[in-house]
Amino acid sequence: MGLRATVSWLIFASTAFPLVAAEVQFLVEGDPDAPIESNSGVVALEWVPANPDEAEGIEFELEKSETADFSEATVLYRGPDRSTILTGVRAGDYFYRVRTADGGRWSKPIRAEVEYIQRGRLFALLGIGLVVVGLTVAAIVGGHFKSSRESS
């Protein structure tokens, strides 16, 4: 399950970032400099404008890049929502930043590390799954035919 980067307003306001540093910031849980870790390809992002009371109706722009300098960036979302759930993200490191869609200052980037279960462990577990399901089906089908023969 992907990490949900969320924290209460009070904790955020008092500890995470100085609100004057940017117009929009990501909400993060725990260490604000630590990357979001995901082992399922799901990355949940949540952001908040510096002054939420005056932020009704504003739109945001969210970008993704595989480099910290955003030299090649892709716009992922543009709209009024203050969160998004990204799914199907391949293994790797990704950087995200957000700003108000009217050309505001970019937020401090947030990094996500996507790493799936190790292949060796995966194949071992899949092997167990295949054996258990296979034997279960075989036991039922075999038991059915055997009991049918005996009763007829």
Partner: protein
């Protein structure tokens, strides 16, 4: 985009109350057929193919099918959809089990009868603990889902909505017993099928297949990976979860007892076939979120959100919310009523009669059943009202139910085994399932529990096996 309240609370109340009145009136009507304990608890053991298949399918279409299947598709792609749909194989494989159940226990009432006869008092106790924990939790999650659904779609406060949906199901189950449950399930299954088809077709009409593929390949590439690790694990895990749930739970055993002998296997197989495409259709709706420009802010609501978006674009306005509400209400009610009936049957037959030697003659039967149904509903209501998040309890129970797969198979098809080893396997399987779910990876809870139990059950066939006791006829309850 979050789920908008697309209708007024008055409309929401009206829709639910009208549906509720219909179900209760039908419950009263069908309840007139329920004569005696067999009539009330097992619909006279005379359920035919169409009703049998419909009730099994409708019961298996829970709020999870409509809400969680889209989440699996959104997060795990095609494998995610197939993982959820693999639960259909549990229904299909229950077909041959149903034949044996009818032959071994022609007068059986509950799954507890089987465990008591095959595995003695210890096995029965283990079964009762596992199944009551699981069934009550399942019931609570359905009640919570109902409350949240009415709050999100109809603007009805959570506690009121949850109480309303539970009350409606209690009333018609009280009046009509399994007759009412199966009858309403038949109508609910038709509504669910029509609703899912209508919404699915509308989504397909609004999507360009090529554009959808390009969008997913660009923005969600891992969803198209054949070897997406978590999705592959979910496939086997969900399948075994489904096997365990269907094979052990009295919801399915009571239906097997209720159906005519030749009907039961065909009905279960047919219900699996009918059910299989539903989570795929629901999942496909979620995969369409990105291509349709729907920003997902709450994965648990992605199905209804996309459905509402599509229906809204089709100009359905408030009707969109009503259609989604009706379909989801039916999917939740069809599971709540079945759980109420099957769990109260266990309390009456296995606890009241079996454990406390209670008397069910004459009018006492209806009173005891009513108390059992109300007790189950009250426990579920209190837990749901408290707001405890029991979803994790339900999802973590994969190891519990999968640990019962092989004991059921052995008890039905084998002539002998070492019962102590089988029960040790169940206990160790449950423990392993919980450990793996919480400490290693959530998607291996059912897999690990089932594997451990399977190992011990197979071992029990070769280590000091003893013949199972001959099945004894179950005495009539009244």
């Amino acid at each position: 985009m979050s789920l908008a309240v697309s209708m007024s609370p008055a409309t929401g109340w009206t829709v639910v109350i009208v549906l509720g009145i219909i179900w209760v009136l039908l419950g009263i009507y069908w309840g007139r057929k329920a004569k005696g304990s067999e009539g009330f608890m097992l619909a006279g053991r005379n359920v035919g193919l169409s009703l049998g298949a419909a009730t099994a399918m409708a019961t298996w279409v829970t709020s999870n099918t409509m809400m969680v299947a889209p989440v699996l598709a959104l997060e795990k792609g095609v494998w995610g959809m197939l993982a959820y749909a693999s639960a259909a194989f549990g229904l299909m494989l229950f077909a041959p089990l149903a034949i044996r159940i009818k032959r071994l226990l022609p007068d059986g009432f509950t799954a507890g009868d089987f465990f008591r006869q095959r595995y003695g008092r210890a096995g029965w106790t283990l079964f009762i603990l596992i199944t009551l924990l699981y069934s009550i939790t399942w019931l609570v999650t359905m009640a919570i889902a109902g409350g949240k659904l009415l709050e999100a779609l109809g603007g009805i406060p959570y506690a009121q909505g949850m109480t309303l949906i539970l009350t409606v199901c209690v009333l018609y189950t009280l009046f009509g017993g399994l007759f009412a449950v199966i009858g309403t399930d038949f109508i609910q299954s038709l509504i669910i099928l029509i609703g899912v088809v209508v919404i699915g077709v509308m989504v397909i009409v609004r999507l360009d297949a090529g554009e959808t593929y390009r969008h997913v390949a660009e923005h969600q590439p891992a969803l198209l990976d054949v070897m997406m690790p978590v999705a592959l694990l979910a496939f086997f895990n969900n399948m075994l979860f489904g096997f365990g749930e269907v094979f052990h739970n009295n919801v399915w055993w009571s239906r097997a007892f209720a159906m005519r002998e030749k009907v039961a296997p065909r009905a279960f197989f047919l219900s699996g076939l009918l059910w299989f495409p539903i989570p795929i259709a629901a999942g496909f709706i979620a995969l369409a979120a990105g291509p349709l420009g729907v920003n997902v802010t709450d994965a648990s609501k992605v199905g209804p959100v996309v459905a509402e978006h599509v229906l809204g674009q089709a100009g359905m306005g408030a009707m969109a919310g009503i259609l989604i509400l009706v379909v989801l209400f039916c999917s939740i009610a069809s599971s709540i009523d079945s759980l109420l009936a099957a769990t109260s049957d266990l309390l009456v037959k296995d606890i009241y009669v079996g454990l406390f030697k209670g008397n069910l003659s004459g009018r006492v039967f209806r009173k005891v059943v009513a108390v059992a149904i109300l007790s189950v509903a009250l426990i579920a209501w209190i837990l749901a009202l408290s707001g405890w998040n029991v979803a994790t309890v339900l999802y973590s129970a994969g190891g519990l139910v999968s640990s019962l797969i092989w004991p059921v198979i052995a008890g039905l098809f084998w002539k002998r085994c070492n019962r102590g080893l089988v029960l040790a396997g169940v206990v160790l399987g449950c423990s392993t399932g919980y450990y793996c779910f919480f400490m290693i990876e959530p998607y291996i809870g059912a897999l690990s529990g089932g594997a451990v139990s399977m190992f011990f059950t197979i071992l029990s066939r070769y280590v000091k096996p003893k013949p199972f006791p001959e099945p004894e006829p179950e005495p009539s309850l009244t």
